[in-house]
C-alpha cells in the first residue's frame, strides 16, 4: 500500500486501458473453453473399457481449469497493480512484474519538465488510449505510462497539478 505524506492528497489514479486487459485475457478464456470441450468430448466418446479413466480425465481438466483461473487473476492483478498515482505533491509509478517483482518510482512535481502523448494505430485512436511520457529534470529516464486510457486528459491533469504545485510553492 502507498503511504502518503503529511497533508498530501491523491488527485487522480491512472491505469492502462481496459482493452489491453481484454486482449491479454482472450487466450486464457479461449483455453478455458477448450479444456471444457475436451472434457465433454472425453465423457461422450471414451470407450467403456476405459471407464476407470473418466475421473482421471475430469481431475486433469479440473487442474487445468484451476491453473487457468489462477492465470486469469494473476493477469488481472498485474493490470490492477500497474498504476500511476498523482498526488498534489508527487507522482508515484507502480509497476507489478509477475507475482514477486514490483517496481515503485516517485517523482516530485517540481521535477516535471514536460509531458507528451503518443497514440499509435487505428484501435488506439478509436478507443482513445496511448502512451503518456513525462520528461523529468533528473538524469533518470522518463516516466512512461503505457497504453493509458484517455492519454490527453492524463497529460492535462499532470500538467495542471504541476502548475498548481509550482504556484503554491512559488517555484
Amino acid at each position: 500500500m502507498i503511504t502518503l505524506r503529511e497533508n498530501e492528497r491523491i488527485v487522480s489514479v491512472f491505469r492502462r486501458h481496459h482493452f489491453v486487459l481484454l486482449v491479454t485475457l482472450i487466450p486464457i478464456v479461449g483455453a478455458f473453453f477448450l479444456v471444457l470441450v475436451v472434457a465433454a468430448i472425453a465423457e461422450v466418446r471414451m470407450p467403456s473399457d476405459f471407464g476407470a479413466l473418466k475421473p482421471v480425465v475430469f481431475l486433469g481438466a479440473a487442474f487445468f481449469l484451476h491453473l487457468l483461473w489462477l492465470a486469469l487473476f494473476i493477469t488481472i492483478a498485474d493490470f490492477v497493480l500497474d498504476v500511476w498515482v498523482l498526488t498534489d505533491k508527487r507522482m508515484i509509478m507502480v509497476e507489478q512484474k509477475g507475482l514477486f517483482a514490483r517496481m515503485v518510482a516517485e517523482l516530485d512535481l517540481d521535477r516535471v519538465q514536460d509531458a507528451g502523448v503518443e497514440v499509435n494505430g487505428i484501435i488506439a485512436t478509436f478507443l482513445n488510449f496511448g502512451n503518456v511520457r513525462v520528461h523529468t529534470a533528473s538524469e533518470r529516464e522518463d516516466f512512461v505510462l503505457a497504453h493509458a486510457a484517455r492519454p490527453h486528459e492524463v497529460k492535462d491533469t499532470v500538467m495542471r497539478s504541476c502548475a498548481a504545485f509550482r504556484q503554491a510553492h512559488k517555484i
Partner: protein, 94 residues
Amino acid sequence: MVTYMALLLSVLAFCAVVLLAVITLVVAYHFDRFGIEKNRHRIVAGVFLVGSCVFIIAEIVLLRAVSWDDVLQSVGGRVPMSEQDFPLSLPFKP
C-alpha cells in the same frame, strides 16, 4: 507393486492440489496487500477466492473418486500377454 504406484500417484495428485491452494493464497495476498482502492480489490479477491475454493473442492472430490489401481490396470495390465502373441521363439518369456 500396483498398490505402491497407486499410492504414489494419489500422493502426487494431492500435492498438486495443495500447491494450487498455496498459489491461490499468494495471489489473494497480492490483491489485498498492494491495492490502492481497497474495497474494490477486495471484491475481486473475494470472487477469485470463491472460484478457487470451488475448484479445490471439485479436485478433492474427484481425487477421492479416482481408483488409481483400476487406472493402472486399464492403462498397463489390462490384457495379459500370452505366448501366442509372440510366434517367434524368444530367449525370454514375455
